[in-house]
């Protein structure tokens, strides 16, 4: 145990935790917007898988991270379109539609991978600041700063984007007319409708935000790991949905949840590599993040109250 509590190991663990948190954070911020408008999307994991494959394959073919991320984003957009049409305009039950999206994403991403790639071929990972082409040199000295360097400056651009999105989403929800409409239709769509707020349009846009971020989350995951394989996400999308509840529908608490999850995962991996957790127990250890999240949910869930109209389709009569 003592080898874990050294400054350098702790710092490295924390830095890894921040990196691990990124896909969770992106996906759950998006899900937060959707849920605040009253739409639960259980298909996040499937959209992430498709975004992940799209980004991975694009980078494999073109070598461009930017293009890869763009493809992830567009896939999110398209899947969002599908989910929004089904749930908002056709009034389908949200729970089962989301599961459908997940299963589609899981199967289709694997099929495409088998057909187009076949075997595991790594791509180059998303560069950290100091490895950025052209400007990387500026950041090189910063990375060497004690503690602060690895924690703050040794990340890729998507990590900064994700954390920057926390205040942006907070602002969007609380300070814009769109955000106000989102909160209104998630809480009392009849009231919003009676004032001429289009419930369908508001939920549609909120779903698009959510799915675009899910697509980006998947793309980021694949490009951080620099590979794709069957079921790459391994349930990250579902955890992201749980984190929204954990975070009581508040972006900053959702971020806290994502960081906690990242930290527990990073600690577990570190302990395994340091043999603090015996090899035989690794399966059980792999479950700790999920268990901790569930515990946190149970402890916190009774306090927070979600959007009153969550999962309820809206019709005027």
């Amino acid at each position: 145990m003592s080898q874990f509590f050294t400054l350098s190991v702790l710092t490295a663990t924390l830095a890894t935790a921040i990196k691990f948190a990124v896909p969770y954070l992106l996906a759950s911020l998006g899900e937060t917007i959707g849920q605040r408008s009253g739409v639960l999307n259980l298909g996040v994991d499937g959209i992430m898988l498709l975004g992940a494959f799209g980004a991975y394959y694009t980078v494999l073919e073109t070598d461009s991270h930017l293009l890869g991320l763009a493809v992830g984003l567009i896939i999110g957009l398209l899947m969002g379109l599908l989910y929004a049409v089904v749930t908002v305009f056709l009034h389908a039950q949200q729970g089962i539609s989301g599961i459908g999206i997940f299963l589609f994403g899981l199967g289709f991403s694997d099929l495409l991978f088998q057909e187009l790639v076949g075997s595991v071929k790594p791509v180059k990972p998303l560069p950290t600041l100091d490895k950025l082409p052209g400007v990387g040199g500026i950041f090189e000295p910063l990375v060497d700063i004690d503690i602060l360097g690895p924690l703050v400056f040794d990340h890729d651009l998507m990590t900064y984007t994700a954390f920057l999105l926390v205040p942006v989403v907070t602002w969007l929800l609380n300070k814009t007319t769109f955000g106000m409409n989102v909160r209104a239709v998630g809480e009392n769509p009849q009231a919003a409708d009676s004032l001429g707020v289009s419930v369908a349009r508001t939920r549609f846009i909120a779903i698009m935000f959510g799915c675009v971020l899910a697509g980006l989350a998947g793309a980021t995951l694949a490009l951080q790991l620099a590979v794709f394989q069957h079921n790459l996400t391994n349930g990250i999308g579902f955890i992201a949905v749980a984190l929204v509840y954990f975070g009581a529908w508040q972006p900053r608490w959702v971020m806290a949840g994502a960081l906690l999850y990242g930290l527990v995962t990073a600690t577990r991996l570190r302990w395994q590599s340091l043999d603090i957790i015996p090899q035989g127990a690794s399966d059980i250890a792999a479950m700790t993040p999920a268990i901790i999240t569930i515990l946190a949910l149970v402890l916190l869930a009774s306090r927070a109250r979600g959007p009153a109209a969550l999962t309820k389709p809206f019709t005027r009569h």
Partner: protein, 502 residues
């Protein structure tokens, strides 16, 4: 006279199995209050929802200021200067007053909300009409009366020239009703046209310029307060002669069936809501509990019903101690409870009528055959209750939430009275209920009284309390500040006690 602000011509609207509006015509002029009167389910709300673009009529025409108007959504209605305060408030509880007012309006700051400007205008409207409310506070923190002011402000903010108020007084205290009427008179003085809906005849007589009576979706009469009387209005609404005050046969007072000693209860916010209350209710007695809402009546009722634990004191029904009882134990001991918030605590909206009627006693032998439901027995039992209580519903399998408010109350009443209770606690038994149904509910309460039931009737309506109760207790700030026999009670005296000045 200039063209009426609103003319509705020959409006007809059907729902599956229901003719809600049948060839309805009426008009409203600027600066007048036109009242729509009718029993529960007469079609008043439906007609107003058509005006507001929430429903489309099957046939008929709407003219606004003499112009044919095609209103297909609330946005159209708002654009045409029609405002509506709905029977069930249309507010987002988690949003602030200003946010609720600003919803759906373009912001002067583009994408960003301009709540400061909105708040300023709310303040000036508040001042103009005496509608005091804090724009920055969330709706859920407001009292019912304050919420209603927000609804009115919403309409005024959109420059409504025609304002519909669908049963605005059903949830208000007498003082709040007076305040509301002052505001409404100011609005008509400023040439706003008002459509007012209420079941309370004295309010209708006091406020209206003209009255249109509906029954079963049809207009049964147009009149004015000068030409009519309360009795005549009641008869027009119901289509037969109505007894406005129930006959109470003399009943010999029996033993004490419900006994409270030192009952102290905490409210939702953790403060003391019921403070050291002693009560004895005898068999064959109706004890009326009067008081302005929010003085502990609801908490008291919930404690007797086993829904809210008492901090101290005891509740005893006949020989059973219910101080620590849960709702099932209270019911087993012979307690029936008609809650104040009927959609929340009294009925399951998504359940159909027969399911709600059976909510409590579905486990009884008479409804079962070989351990499964005996649907024939259930159906005939429910049909009997629906007939007895004159519940207006297309069928037993209609979702309860689509019944009109008064009919939902009848469903709950039917269920609670059917079990021949020892003690009945009825909170606001006729709130929002039409005269015909109120007459029926009152007659049922009197019948239960004759059968030796001990009844606690909580009501803010002093006429109801004075008409029915044998003894009257007034609650103020959680305590019983006055308890008098009916013979010795006067309205003024009770009103003063309710205000804490008894």
């Amino acid at each position: 006279m200039s063209a009426p602000v609103l003319q509705m011509h020959n409006i007809t609207k059907t729902f599956p199995g229901v003719l809600a509006n049948d060839d309805v015509s009426f008009d409203v002029h600027a600066g007048e209050v036109h009242t729509l009167l009718g029993e529960n389910g007469a079609g008043k709300s439906t007609l107003m929802k058509i005006l507001f673009g929430l429903y489309q009529p099957d046939s008929g025409q709407i003219l606004l200021r003499g112009q044919q108007a095609n209103i297909t959504s609330p946005t159209d209605a708002i654009e045409k200067r029609v405002g509506m305060v709905h029977q069930h408030f249309m507010l987002v509880p988690t949003l602030t007053v200003a946010e609720n007012v600003a919803l759906g309006l373009p912001s002067s700051r583009g994408l960003r909300t301009d709540l400061d400007a909105v708040s300023e205008r709310i303040a000036s409207i508040s001042e103009q009409y005496g509608l005091s409310v804090d724009p920055g506070v969330e709706i859920w923190k407001l009292s019912v009366g304050e919420r209603q002011r927000v609804e009115i402000i919403k309409a005024l903010y959109r420059d409504a020239e025609l304002l519909v108020l669908d049963e605005p007084t059903a949830v208000l205290t007498p003082q709040e009703v007076d305040d509301l009427f002052v505001i409404l008179r100011q609005m008509t003085a400023a040439d706003t046209a008002i459509i007012f809906i209420s079941h309370k005849l004295h309010e209708v007589m006091e406020l209206s310029d003209r009255i249109t009576v509906l029954r079963n979706g049809r207009v049964t009469g147009h009149t004015t307060p000068a030409e009519t009387s309360r009795q005549q209005l009641a008869d027009l609404m119901v289509g037969r002669e109505v007894k406005l005050a129930p006959d109470k046969p003399p009943v010999d007072l029996g033993l004490v069936r419900l006994k409270l000693r030192g009952v102290t209860v905490k409210g939702d916010r953790g403060t003391i809501a019921v403070d050291n209350v002693d009560l004895d209710v005898h068999a064959g007695e109706i004890l009326g509990v009067a008081g302005v809402s929010g003085n502990g009546q609801r908490e008291l009722a919930e404690t007797i019903a086993g829904l809210r634990p008492a901090e101290a004191g005891s509740v005893q029904l006949d020989d059973t101690d219910l101080s620590k009882a849960n709702p099932a134990q209270s019911r087993a001991a012979g307690l029936s409870y008609v809650p104040e918030e009927r959609m929340k605590d009294g009925a399951v909206g998504e359940f159909d009528v027969s399911e709600n009627l059976l909510l409590i006693n579905h486990g009884e032998k008479r409804f079962l055959r070989n351990g499964l439901f005996n649907f024939d027995a259930i159906k005939s039992h429910c049909q009997q209750l629906v007939d007895d209580f004159a519940v207006k519903t297309p069928s037993l399998s209609t979702p309860t939430s689509s019944l009109s408010g008064g009919n939902i109350q009848k469903v709950i009443m039917a269920r609670e009275l059917e079990s021949s209770p020892a003690v009945l606690v009825a909170a606001q038994p006729t709130r929002g209920v039409d005269i015909g149904a109120a007459e029926y509910i009152h007659s049922q309460l009197v019948k239960q009284r004759s059968d030796g039931v001990a009844i606690v009737m909580i009501s803010e309506d002093l006429d109801e309390v004075l008409g029915l109760a044998d003894r009257i207790a007034v609650m103020f700030e959680g305590r019983i500040v006055k308890i008098v026999d009916r013979e010795n009670a006067t309205k003024d005296q009770l009103g003063l006690a309710m205000a804490g000045a008894g």
